[in-house]
């Protein structure tokens, strides 16, 4: 599913995720962010409404100021560290998150279930999987340690499943207070931003709940692309379509369209 179903014309899926993701960020917040849509969302927010947003990058980087056209491919390269305010090292960057300094954590696309659990490890059994995926990287740490975790992902049936094969990164586990009972006392997944709409989690069951759709997208369409029993808020809002200004900034940041597609 993609830009077509979102009825935003020439807007690419990654542009849509970056725009909707950026609107979740506030000035003077700290955000743990990664490459791809999370990075575009963070920089867009900085250029628009959150100029004093501090980015923390898993390569052990605090407060970089990335150059347009010089965006990093990995969170562990000189482009990612460009004009940083501090380079504390990888372990310490995550420990800063464990201490509670990170308001927001962004996580990119993966296999996600109705409780916001993510799988980036293996599909079809763990020891002899059908498909071995790259692994957690920092995703497990971001989702376990940041205050308000936001998942950014293209809305596809193969990505949205009732129960992930393997919980690499814990969302709300089996719902209710299961996350707290496992010892994860703080933070957690608050938001899922997809190419069709915005989702939260119903406070009691902690099941994913549709809260807003994009212009031209219907609730039925979202249900059709979500192979689990999706909760729907009493009032489903309609998010404003990406503005010309938002798109202009994104395209100037990534003139070769390496990340926005």
């Amino acid at each position: 599913m993609s830009a077509k179903a979102s009825a935003t014309g020439a807007v690419t899926p990654n542009e849509l995720l970056a725009v909707m993701g950026s609107r979740e960020l506030r000035d003077h917040q700290t955000v743990f962010t990664g490459v791809g849509a999370p990075m575009m969302a963070s920089v867009l927010a900085q250029r628009l409404h959150a100029p004093r947003l501090t980015m923390v990058i898993e390569g052990g980087i605090i407060g970089p100021q990335w150059r347009p056209g010089w965006l990093p491919i990995s969170t562990n390269e000189m482009r990612a560290a460009y004009h940083a305010q501090m380079l504390p090292g990888i372990t310490d960057a995550f420990l800063i998150a464990q201490r509670g300094f990170l308001d927001v954590g962004f996580i990119g696309g993966a296999q996600v279930d109705q409780y916001g659990n993510l799988n980036t490890s293996a599909i079809g059994g763990y020891d002899r999987p059908k498909v071995r995926l790259p692994g957690s990287g920092g995703a497990n740490d971001i989702i376990s340690l940041c205050q308000r975790v936001i998942i950014l992902t293209v809305h596809e049936k193969r990505r949205f499943i009732p129960k992930v094969d393997f919980i690499t990164s814990p969302g709300h586990l089996t719902g209710g207070d299961s996350r707290e009972r496992a010892g994860l006392l703080f933070g957690g997944v608050a938001r899922v931003v997809t190419t069709l709409g915005l989702f939260g989690f119903e406070p009691k069951s902690r099941r994913m709940r549709l809260e807003a759709v994009y212009p031209g997208v219907t609730v039925e369409q979202v249900r059709d692309h979500t192979p689990f029993d999706l909760l729907v808020a009493d009032q489903v809002a309609t998010a404003a379509a990406p503005s010309d200004k938002e798109l202009e900034i994104l395209r100037a940041l990534d003139p070769d369209r390496q990340f926005i597609g």
Binding site: V35, G36, E58, G59, G60, I61, W70, I73, S74, N76, E77, M78, R79, A81, Y82, L87, G89, I90, T91, F94, L95, Q98, S121, Y126, D127, R128, P129, K130, V131, R132, L133, P134, G135, S136, G137, G138, A139, N140, D141, S144, L145, F166, I167, T168, S169, P170, L173, S178, R179, A182, G183, L184, L185, F186, Q258
Partner: protein, 320 residues
């Protein structure tokens, strides 16, 4: 999977270190002599991260000796992990993530070796594995943390929880990882092995303090006075280093902060070889870039001067 006591037994690790000379003497040896200190069956930890400051020259020198039975630990494993699989050097990979990066897709070699059960991956979260090195660097058997709790990484990895003796809360007791040998690449060192790192430090210092044997390559060997002029930049003291080799461009075509940028085009060629020939593509690469070059200069000659000059220019510009 269960975690071997060999990984975390701080008593054995401590005695092993106590028995070792903490020499303040000369550490300079040839690259080949440094690599010869890696025994078969060892647990190796590679410094740097992904394609940043990877000790590639040292890894190539180790692979030229056709080692067997190695366990390779590195938080974000780039294609050097694939080399160790295809060369038959690695029995196990310990990592949080394996691949090159988004544009290069899933690692086909990792898929082939792990899905067929030939080389298992022991998976940790990034912080989880970082804390394994940190715990070992601190001389402890474990460190408490919140990370990984509740996830399936706990059960498949065999990691345990502990009840906090003060608050009663559940904490993840992440077990130490004491590597037998650390392989590191740094910007500069003096001949006694005092190492300075520019830019992001990655996990090199923790890995150096955690390992029983520490092998280092340095872009530059500087006089002792230069180290003493900026002691705040020294992250690994000479007494922790066993062997040091002078290897300019020692992580190329990976990047070295402030000195040279990585070569994504070269990564693309490497992946194209795998797409065309599978594991045989890696074998061909190993033959050309790892086994055939007799000396480091022969290896560097495989990359045109203008290409490396451009990598230097980008490296400087990115850190200015």
């Amino acid at each position: 999977m269960t975690i071997s006591p060999r990984d975390y037994d701080f008593r054995i690790a401590r005695r092993r270190l106590e028995a070792k000379p903490k020499s303040a003497g000369e550490k300079l040896v040839s690259l080949e002599d440094a690599a010869a200190r890696v025994p078969d069956g060892a647990i190796l930890a590679f410094g740097g991260i992904l394609y940043s400051r990877t000790p590639l020259a040292l890894i190539r020198a180790v692979l030229r000796r056709r080692p067997r039975g190695l366990t390779i630990a590195r938080n974000l494993m780039c294609y050097e992990g694939e080399w160790c699989m295809v060369a038959g050097a690695a029995d196990k990979i310990i990592t949080a993530w394996m691949g090159i990066g988004l544009p290069w897709g899933l690692s086909r070699i990792m898929r082939e070796y792990v899905e067929s059960g030939r080389v298992p991956i022991e998976e940790w979260s990034h912080l989880g594995l970082g804390l394994r090195f940190r715990a070992a660097a601190m001389g402890l058997p474990f460190l408490p943390t919140l990370t990984m709790l509740g996830s399936d990484l706990m059960s498949v990895g065999g990691s345990k929880t502990v009840e906090c003796p003060y608050t009663g809360e559940t904490l993840h007791a992440v077990p130490a990882l004491y590597p037998d040998v650390a392989l590191l690449h740094v910007q500069r060192a003096d001949r006694f092995g005092n190492c300075q790192i520019d830019g992001y430090p990655h996990m090199d210092a923790d890995i150096a303090f955690a390992a029983a044997t520490v092998l280092v390559t340095a872009e530059e060997i500087v006089p002792e006075e230069e180290i003493r002029r900026h002691p705040d930049r020294t992250v690994i003291p000479g007494f922790a280093v066993d062997a040091l080799a002078h290897v300019p461009w020692g992580s190329y075509p990976h990047e070295c902060y402030g000195l040279y940028d990585s070569e994504p085009g070269h990564f693309g060629e490497y992946v194209a070889g795998i797409q065309a020939h599978g594991a045989a593509g890696v074998e061909r690469y190993l033959e050309r870039y790892v086994y055939a070059p007799a000396a480091h200069a022969d290896y560097l000659a495989l990359f045109p001067d203008a290409m490396r000059a451009d990598a230097e220019r980008r490296g400087r510009e990115l850190c200015s």
